[in-house]
């Protein structure tokens, strides 16, 4: 995310603040209106709570955090403020969530989200999730079965492409637009008899659409690249995507945690078959929690983590992996996961990828709840530090990986917490040989 986007964030903050003021005034006016009678208010808790937390009267300093919490977490509706993909800038929207709890202990949630950013990227999703407890003896982990069905659409009007492979030039970027529609179901279940393993699968349909862009001082992708140098540029067929995954995960000796994800993917070109390919992904994250609460558990927000990611794609029989489904490193990837933060977003793209990411996250102060915190502790409990080291490489062929040639970057920054969640990260990274790159990440405010 560049400095233009940084300014855009502040513009959005101001806009949200102004909207909030209007709401606050409206709320205050309503609060001061005489009640028709003395019957209790029977509106939803969250709505009444929002009015209470964000009303203009009272101690505004004390109400800032509760008001923000209510605004971005109330149910069934709350506002969202987040980016969609790197380069989209931050946007605003809303989310409606409806919970349906059943007597057998299952939790069902229907969620609808829509969001548009100040750069006119937009995103819409309808998702239904059911979580069901498994009480059978074979479930050694006690985890639940989760089934999610979803349909989503996102429009990404300006994306950056530097070419394929590890040796592209940062000054030779072009632009393209991308529109993704997908719908599918995903199932995750504890693995029988093994407490540290879950498994599952996903089946989805993908309907990608890629096109050039127009505008002054913009080089559109078709002006530089062809189907040979950017496979998939000519046509974008619908895909059937099937995935199976295994997720070993375990916390041991209380302070150590491993989270692995091994996935095998099959992308089937539903039209001609020319773009069908297979992908194996491995993610291996190790966490160490150095700090414990006195007479309590670990402080979950303070940890060192080292994560390896390995992804290889194979297209056989003259097929090609379309460029828009290839892996990227640099800044953050299309799923907003940071990688090589000293480089621009999507800086390197290829069918194969190897990355290493090391991070130290630390929340400045432990929360004091249900105590009465002072101003210093209130501020302190919402601030965190981040130190990060990244290394990574993309490769056109698996045999091209060369660890000695991996790009590297390091940096640091601050995080802002709302409760236990990081809602905003701001960091500066360098060391990649392409200058200093500011890094922003707006967390999902769910």
């Amino acid at each position: 995310m560049d400095s233009v986007q940084g300014r855009a964030i502040w513009r959005l903050v101001v806009a949200i603040g102004a909207a909030g003021c209007v709401s606050i005034l409206a709320s205050a006016a309503q609060a001061q209106a005489p009640a028709a009678n003395n019957t209790p208010v029977t509106g939803t808790t969250d709505w009444d709570q929002w009015k209470s937390n964000c009303a203009l009267f009272g101690d505004l300093k004390k109400k800032f955090i509760p008001c923000a919490t209510s605004t971005f977490r109330s149910r069934p509706f709350h506002f969202v403020a987040q980016s969609i993909v790197p380069g989209s800038a931050v946007g605003g929207g809303g989310r409606y969530s409806q919970d349906f709890n059943e007597n057998n202990g299952s939790q069902n949630t229907l969620q609808a989200t829509s969001l548009i950013t100040i750069r006119k990227f937009w995103y819409a999703e309808l998702k239904f999730t059911t979580i069901r407890a498994i009480t059978a003896d074979w479930n050694k982990s006690g985890e639940s079965l989760a089934l999610t069905g979803y349909a989503r659409n996102r429009s990404l009007p300006v994306m950056t492409f530097y070419g394929l492979g590890p040796n592209t030039n940062v000054n030779n970027s072009v632009k393209f637009s991308q529109r993704d529609t997908s719908a599918g179901v995903e199932l995750t279940t504890p693995f029988p008899e093994i407490s540290w393993l879950s498994a599952g699968g996903k089946v989805e349909g993908l309907w990608p659409n890629v096109a050039g862009v127009t505008g002054t001082n913009v080089v559109s992708i078709q002006q530089v690249y062809t189907e040979q140098t950017a496979p998939g540029l000519a046509t974008q067929p619908p895909f059937a995507h099937e995935q199976i995954f295994f997720r070993p995960h375990k916390r041991f000796l209380e302070r150590y945690e491993v989270n692995y994800n091994l996935a095998y993917n099959l992308y089937q070109d539903a039209s001609t078959g020319h773009y069908s390919f297979r992908r194996f992904e491995g993610n291996f994250e190790h966490r160490f929690y150095p700090e414990k609460k006195k007479h309590g558990g670990v402080i979950a927000q303070n940890y060192f983590s080292v994560a390896w990611r390995y992804s290889v794609s194979t297209a056989t029989g003259g097929s090609a992996v379309p460029f828009y489904l290839q892996e990227t490193i640099g800044g953050s990837d299309i799923d907003n996961q940071p990688s090589l933060r000293a480089f621009k977003d999507y800086r390197f793209r290829g069918p194969n990828l190897l990355t290493v990411k090391a991070e130290y996250d630390r929340k400045m102060c432990e929360a004091c709840e249900p105590c009465k915190p002072g101003i210093i502790r209130t501020v302190c409990t919402h601030l965190g530090l981040l130190l990060a080291y990244d290394a990574g490489q993309v490769a056109l062929h698996r045999s091209d990986f060369d660890i000695s040639q991996m790009h590297q970057s390091f940096g640091g920054g601050v995080s802002i917490y709302l409760g236990k969640d990081v809602i905003f990260r701001m960091a500066v990274a360098l060391g990649g040989g392409e200058g200093t790159h500011p890094y922003f990440n707006v967390g999902n405010f769910i």
């Binding site: 558990g297 432990e366 105590c371």
Partner: protein, 470 residues
């Protein structure tokens, strides 16, 4: 096996931790009375105990209590209600011996028809409470443990924290002046204590604790790991979950586990089981910990044993101001009997302790064990004069036998009906307390909160807003 003598305790050298789990609002007879037998000679009920309703109908105790559904509306347990239950007439001088005849008529006062009010005499069969009954039978049951005052939750819990309710019998939300507490006394002597809670604790209002996070922790995120890691403080107080929570927002649904009427009693069984297993599964913790499971007060449910007299803790008295319904009270009569179970591997199976205890006995025992040579350590006259129970730990070697909890209990998510049920008076006061601590207007907040789900959401959002880790 009955004790009461002065047998020198044996396992005490190894005792490093006391853990107190305080449940809500059930009397001794209601929970354990029907478990009495020739083999387990607790002071239970014979089955012929009765009360009379206002039209002369006879209500007899029965062992068919249900986990939930019997006690809506919430039976009365204020000072007025409890004295009604003890004497029939709430304005009877408490110097007189109670007769335990007013339970049904008190429940009728909640708007019930006479016959419906007979439900207050329902008690549990032992089979329905496998966890509590098994632990009571396999360790030590105290069958003369009385709530500290004939009244509601907050003043009784105040005795648990400070051996006094500072002259109060009411459910007012502001307990900032309750000091010194046992936590402060231990801290003065460099000993740690933590209140582990789920969704709320009245201790959040205590001036002596507020502002110091070391005094507070989460049951799930802190107590359970502390057990696994052998890192318990000297003294732990455990609060159950007070509200049914719908979950969502990435969090699972939880049922209230406090057993307050009309919450599902089985959820409390599951909490007791979880607590016991957390301690028992780590041998180092098991062999150094005394677990006390006790109920704060009777909640209006029937018990046949008249509470005895006691000592005023601090010279303070409750004076009826003409506004409160609660009669004046001098704190010289204990409240209704409640279940209390002592659990340690140094306690042999089947111990029945018939001595008189109230909640300040826990404070007295803890101070006696952990600060034996400190002068003036007691908090009030009540704990100074209370019986202590450490001499039930009589074994020279810790037990290693398997503890059978029978069918056990498993927590389940609340039903829609449970989430939508009106909140009880206690939960109402906890919400008001949270509002007070957040700087909101408690009267205004409570107007908009009518269901368990709403109350839970309010309590959780205030924990989130404060940046809690749980």
């Amino acid at each position: 096996m009955a004790v009461g003598g002065t047998m020198p305790p044996a396992g005490l050298d190894n005792l490093k931790h006391i853990v107190v789990l305080m449940m809500e609002n059930r009397s001794f007879d209601h929970m354990l009375g029907f478990a009495a037998s020739a083999d387990w000679a607790i002071d239970g009920i014979s089955g012929s105990e009765t009360n009379t309703d206002s039209v002369g109908g006879i209500a007899q105790v029965s062992n068919d209590a249900n986990y939930a559904g019997d006690l809506t509306p919430d039976p009365g347990h204020s000072g007025f209600d409890t004295l009604t239950q003890l004497y029939g007439d709430p304005f009877t001088p408490v110097a007189k011996n109670p007769v335990m005849t007013g339970f049904v008529r008190s429940y009728e006062g909640k708007g019930l028809a006479s016959q419906d009010a007979h439900r207050i005499m329902k008690c549990f069969s032992a089979q329905k409470l496998p966890v509590l009954t098994s632990l009571a039978q396999q360790f030590c049951i105290c069958d003369r443990w009385f709530s500290s005052i004939p009244g509601p939750t907050f003043p009784n819990r105040a005795y648990m924290h400070a051996a006094t309710s500072i002259g109060r019998v009411d459910m007012g939300i502001d307990w900032r002046d309750l000091t010194p507490t046992i936590y402060e006394r231990l801290a003065e002597n460099k000993l740690d204590s933590v209140i582990y809670y789920h969704d709320s604790t009245m201790a959040s209002t205590f001036n002596g604790l507020a502002g110091n996070p070391d005094f507070f922790g989460s049951f799930d995120d802190d107590f359970l790991p502390a057990c696994a890691d052998n890192d318990l403080p000297t003294y732990s107080f455990l609060e159950p979950r007070f509200a049914n929570s719908p979950g969502g927002n990435g969090e699972p649904a939880f049922s209230a586990s406090d057993q307050h009427p009309d919450h599902n009693v089985r959820e409390g069984e599951a909490l007791i089981q979880t607590t016991f297993k957390a301690i028992w599964s780590n041998p180092k913790v098991r062999n150094s910990t005394l677990l006390v499971v006790v109920y704060d007060e009777h909640g209006g449910t029937y018990d046949h044993v008249p509470p005895p007299t006691t000592i005023n803790p601090d010279g303070k008295t409750w004076i009826n101001d003409g506004v409160s319904q609660d009669p004046s009270f001098d704190f010289t009569r204990l409240g209704v009997r409640v279940p209390a179970v002592l659990i340690s591997p140094y306690i042999p199976p089947g111990v029945i302790d018939h001595r008189v205890y109230d909640h300040s006995s826990i404070i007295a025992t803890a101070l006696k064990l952990f600060l034996p040579n400190v002068a003036g350590v007691n908090l009030t006259l009540r704990d100074k004069n209370a019986n202590t129970f450490e001499d039930n730990l009589t074994l020279q070697q810790p037990r290693t036998d398997n503890i059978d909890l029978g069918a056990g209990a498993k927590s389940e998510a609340p039903t829609a009906a449970e989430l939508n049920q009106p909140i009880n008076d206690h939960l109402k006061m906890l919400v008001r307390q949270a509002a007070m601590m957040a700087g909101d207007d408690p009267d205004k907040v409570i107007q908009s909160i009518t269901t368990e789900a709403q109350a839970s959401a309010y309590l959780q959002s205030h924990a989130r807003a404060a940046g809690a880790n749980h």
